[in-house]
Symmetry: C2
Subunit: 192 residues, 2 copies
């Protein structure tokens, strides 16, 4: 399982074998079955998680009891609640597996050790974080500027590998649109 990660990170950061060994030695391999929670609201998020295989979602539940997907993640993406991880406060979000998944995890403390001891890993991590901030701004922009139909098309263009793996009602939730509306949008589109 670590080999996948090795291949991934070797493209992004120049690491010696020793450094890779160190990263591996602090990692935890885990499997999650479909529907299994990686994090529940109220829990304190303790790990940085890298998805080797599978698909997950991070979502919150509103006070009306409705689920709202904040983001999806698939192979070679990072997952976790950065806020809870950072503050040590209970998370407001849930994370669960949408498919049987394999992940690598590092505790906050061990992750910090890697950041401190391996400069290239630090640079790499900052780049990951910068990119996730950029993509969240893009998401904000599309969410406030596009119509439901445009959002849907933007989504399948931006995440072609996700839209065909997750149920439509979750995409609707992600886009902030009712599932009925999204179903109609999609059918109206295919009939053209």
């Amino acid at each position: 399982m670590f080999d996948s990660f090795k291949r991934y990170i070797s493209n992004k950061a120049k690491l010696t074998n020793q450094e890779l060994d160190k990263i591996q030695s602090l990692s935890i391999e885990k499997k999650f079955r479909k529907k299994q929670y990686l994090l529940q609201a109220g829990d304190i998020c303790k790990h940085h998680t890298f998805i080797v295989k599978g698909c997950m979602r991070l979502y919150r539940i509103s006070n009306k009891g409705v689920e709202h997907v904040i983001r999806f993640a698939i192979e070679e993406w990072w997952m976790g609640d950065k806020e809870s991880l950072n503050t040590g406060q209970p998370s407001r979000s849930n994370i669960d597996a949408l498919e049987d998944s394999e992940v690598l995890m590092w505790t906050k403390e061990n992750h910090q050790i890697l950041l401190d001891e391996i400069p290239a890993f630090n640079v790499f991590s900052e780049r990951v974080q910068a990119r996730s901030l950029a993509s969240s701004y893009n998401r904000i922009y599309t969410t406030i500027s596009l119509s439901a139909e445009e959002k849907y098309h933007d989504f399948i263009q931006t995440y072609p590998n996700i839209f065909n793996r997750v149920p439509l009602h979750m995409i609707a939730s992600y886009l902030g649109v009712s599932r009925e509306t999204l179903s109609r949008i999609r059918n109206q589109f295919t009939s053209k």
Copy 2:
């Protein structure tokens, strides 16, 4: 002008006088008049900017020619297009001053020097970045989960110091709602 920054950062990071001097020596003091651009779409963002006084907004213009505010920033907030700063690519966003403003700026390179040479500054910066990621997730959540009216109330609760300083139509733009709708929501509310 640097004194304000000194007071701000001294609360958040333990820095020696030498370190503060170093930070100051690499800083640029600038003033922006109301309506003046700090960054225009197409420019490459070269600086990290700290707002000492005033109010700014970061926004994009859609292909229909409509402005969409991605975020506001006031005293003691950081501003800049992290994406462009990081990638060196032209920015898709604009930043301008909503009030006469005073800022401190550091070039990307000088900022990096500070991160490398001053561990406490590095830790501090990471915390800032983590917080901005967290707040952007919160924004995504409220944007997809709340109605226009709820969004407005959430906004004035979350940013009481901003809503009374910026024009209503910009708040509408920020919330992804037409200004007429927001105007109606607000009046309906005050008449209760």
